[in-house]
Symmetry: C2
Subunit: 325 residues, 2 copies
């Protein structure tokens, strides 16, 4: 009989202690204009303002601090934010870091990985190519792998964002996050249900990469085919085994939204919230704007997962060359 | 002999107490990417995240709470943020509010004034037309006037942003703000010099509306001609009498930046800070990016004054119609 390690709330609390001083306690913001637009009180946990511009530093740091490796090398595959986060965590510990990234990853995210002094190995898009390339890297270097989401300590680390949010706002009735591999949603569900048992936890993903919704509603874990062309580049992967198991017991619903709703939500975020958020972060906001998360008048907590937008590729930004040097 | 009331630090402290619970204590953010770009540690006091998206609520609320008026009507002229702030403050006190606004004001700011249930009276651009229209409104309605910047209690209120910033970060060596009428800069200077006497206080304004710089360096208060066409719509007015008197004793320098530097700084703010800031707020960042504020390695505090950007008029955003409903 094989076993799978599933994190508990104790692991999230331990991660919280471990991360103190290593990750930002990001601000929780609220905007009257957005509240009146959606008819709910919306509290935004702004992980777009985290070091590296994404929540991923939480999981990567929590994992790396507990890792023992003779090689002092870590490796992962990532479309961006996890790679940059692991690179930062490795640099702080004085380890080498190798990131396998698909060629269709966002340029701004690839830049961020390089800026954190990691080595970048390109591969074809899609999970199969990513994993094959990672295996090759590991066999060549002896690196320890830090999976972007299917890892108990990574999930526990991601749950610390919800822990911070709920400890400041115990009146939250619904928590919503985007779903890609499921690390953020499952960590959020563990923290949310432990701290406020009546709190509903909702995941939202793009229609074009609806594997988590199909898995959740179908009762069988299924993956996406290849690399879906959704604009939400952080959510193109398939849901992991551990996140799926956690979803089944702790998540209340998984919704999907269209591409145009995602772009519209990004633009509304810029107008109403004055925040530049990446398409993945706009996914739960899109469902909120459609009135599909919580009920009128309720207090909704949303994890804004990241802010790493490639301005030149943003649909409502001019496609001209950057004005900056 | 006539006298002019000039606020002191005691007035800023009193305003701080008066505003507790009425304005947001906005977050102070720091971004490694921007720090390394400018070679300084930059702490951003994010008044773009204030209620109404601008610092103006501080001064308007502080003034309104001390106003007695039989008519229970207030009026002002404003290109946007002050009008919306006064409207909000009036609404909270149950007063009527009339805002005189130039026809060239930003659409998003005019919308915000209307959203706060104020009455809007249009006038031609330029200070002369604004003041004439306001006089007409006062004589017709008996409204009490709340000047956008040339008022001791408004200035004291604006100083509370710096008070909050410096109380959290007493290691700040330089404080920078944009300068339009001078309310924010003079309030900031009063708080800054009282709390940290060695702190240098710098104002920055557009070259196209350089009246504060010419006044500061020339030793005589001069105004702008008409309504300069700078993109920094919040800084088109001339410096007020009280701000000018405060500048002379408490401000260390007033710099100017070009229009292209302002646009470039807005774009960098979106890239490095993931914040949408209005052109006026980009003005001090432009000087920072040019290496003209503080010295390498110093800690610089910047008041990000507002985030009310008309997306359709933003030079690096596509000019298409909003996707949102």
């Amino acid at each position: 009989m094989s076993t799978v390690d599933i994190p508990t709330f104790d692991d999230v609390v331990a991660a919280y202690g471990r991360l103190l001083g290593r990750v930002l306690r990001t601000p929780v913001l609220n905007f009257a204009r957005f509240d009146s637009r959606v008819g709910r009180r919306v509290l935004l946990k702004c992980e777009n303002l985290q070091h590296g511009g994404a929540f991923k530093l939480r999981g990567a740091t929590n994992k790396l601090l507990q890792l023992e490796s003779a090689s002092r090398i870590v490796a992962t595959h990532s479309s961006g934010n996890h790679g940059a986060a692991l690179a930062r965590a490795a640099r702080e510990r004085g380890w080498r870091c190798i990131v396998v990234a698909p060629r269709d990853a966002s340029a701004v995210k690839l830049q961020a990985i390089l800026a954190e002094s990691a080595e970048l190995v390109a591969c074809d898009p899609g999970l199969v190519a990513r994993e094959a390339t990672l295996v090759e890297v590991i066999s060549r270097t002896g690196a320890a792998v830090v999976h972007p989401f299917d890892d108990a300590q990574v999930i526990a680390g991601q749950g610390t964002a919800a822990l911070e949010l709920l400890s400041e706002h115990p009146d939250i009735q619904v928590l919503a996050t985007p779903v890609g591999g499921g690390g953020l949603l499952s960590g959020t569900a563990i923290a949310g249900k432990a701290m406020i048992p009546s709190c509903r936890v909702i995941g939202v993903e793009p229609e074009m990469a609806d594997d988590a919704a199909r898995s959740f509603h179908g009762g069988l874990r299924v993956g996406v085919q290849g690399s879906p062309a959704t604009i939400a580049d952080g959510l193109r992967g398939s849901i992991g085994a551990r996140p799926y198991l956690i979803f089944r017991s702790l998540v209340d619903d998984v919704l999907t939204v269209s591409e145009s709703a995602i772009v519209n939500a990004m633009r509304i975020a810029l107008e109403d919230l004055r925040l530049l958020i990446e398409p993945s972060s706009a996914v739960p906001l899109a469902a909120l704007i459609e009135g599909r998360i919580g009920r009128s008048g309720e207090t909704i907590g949303v994890i804004i997962s990241g802010g790493n937008v490639d301005l030149s590729a943003c649909p409502f930004l001019a496609g001209r060359a950057p004005l900056s040097a």
